[in-house]
Symmetry: C2
Subunit: 283 residues, 2 copies
Amino acid sequence: MSLWFTEKQTENVGFSIKVSRQLFSKKSDFQKIEIFDSEEFGRFLALDGIMMLTEKDEHIYHEMIVHPAMAVHPRAKDILVIGAGDGGVLRELARYKSIKHIDVVEIDENVVEAAKEFLPQTACGFKDPRIDLHFEDGVRFVRRKSDCYDLIIVDSTDPFGPGEGLFTKEFYGGCNKALRKDGILVNQHESPFYKDDAAAMAHTHKHIFKRFPIAKVYQAHIPTYPSGHWLFGFASKKYHPLKNLNSDKWNALKIKTRYYNTNLHLGAFALPTYVEEMLKDVE
Amino acid sequence: MSLWFTEKQTENVGFSIKVSRQLFSKKSDFQKIEIFDSEEFGRFLALDGIMMLTEKDEHIYHEMIVHPAMAVHPRAKDILVIGAGDGGVLRELARYKSIKHIDVVEIDENVVEAAKEFLPQTACGFKDPRIDLHFEDGVRFVRRKSDCYDLIIVDSTDPFGPGEGLFTKEFYGGCNKALRKDGILVNQHESPFYKDDAAAMAHTHKHIFKRFPIAKVYQAHIPTYPSGHWLFGFASKKYHPLKNLNSDKWNALKIKTRYYNTNLHLGAFALPTYVEEMLKDVE
């Protein structure tokens, strides 16, 4: 017998991982949460059948959603993280002594509980004493906040299901208001390759571009996400992601990473022509 | 009924494409050649069950194996292409009026015939009158050549089966000899992500690094190749891939590309830390 997990990345594309066993399965109020173990990728988390992270490549996503902004902002002390129920973003943030406080807003408490039990590689991030964990809707949380964060990281699921509200113009407007006058917003931006993902990406960029004076996009190779070509949005009120990169300062922190480095930081903002054109179309 | 083509990217990972129909199947002296049609990727070519190209993303591979070197070499006139039975590399080379002559060495005539019949999008490259097509083993062809090419492009299959000899130190030594004193070698370099691909990549880099004063690696997002994270080797006797990039000159050619641009050229050489470490380990 062999057991295979298959994600339909589009109606016509399947990505399959040979599974050694299922570790966890629960239907929460929001979604179906499943954790599997596999030889190739280690443990992996799926929400509603969509792979969210694997132990083999989650570091790429988590390093790339955290370090570029932290290497640009000269003094990011107060951070808001939306989503991030697995803890991976928090693990990366915890490496900065300069951070004073992190609000984490995760809609589904069950994801955090499952991660703490079965995904220690990312859930270790929850241990940091600077974290306040809020189980509520990110859109509602942000609505109440004003001028109090240096950095907001939106580690959302896809724009279908419980994460849907995180892709609206109201939400990005709320993020703008919640940020200080030199704040940065980093958003997981989906992929430019398959049609539906690309439409979500363009839609998101359009909303963010309207609300921030600086709105750039950068990319990473994340093999277990559809197409492996993943984008992040870097939106900012003051700092430019390339001109304000302080490589020397970041390198002096001696944070050991496996994917991110300050040279790659510069390269990640150099996008393929077809992606540049998609972005220009909505600007 | 639904028909699916599945490539085992590793023993534990499958990538599946819904197929509308099979257009061609033949067992040649070297390999099994198959061409399918699909809604998501258009037509695609598989050799021994491994996807070689799809109409949706072949332009990424072909642009990235051709344009970086052409944007660096100030006068590449005589070109040798090993492999390339589908014609995609030739289509991209044909866009440079400055090229005088292209030798193409493909071991399997049946691939060229099948491409000409079923893959017009890439096989159009064979129409260029500057091309001389040789059906023979690339290793043997190169052995006879000395000081006569400005650019060699190795568009090989994987290092198993008929392409195996193209990953040996003898072959790269032969390429060095066949190149002029300011020649460039570009090599498809496999992927750094899955274990066997990464081993092939490191092995190849080791051979090339020993034989060329400049041996750099660059990357692209190619969704239908394993992991989507693909590498190319840029080996050179004189020109540096970044310092000798002539962006103004290349942009003045007004070659319309969908993936490559001169900004991305610079970014593509900025590698993730784990890839840099793999390369350093064999240097």
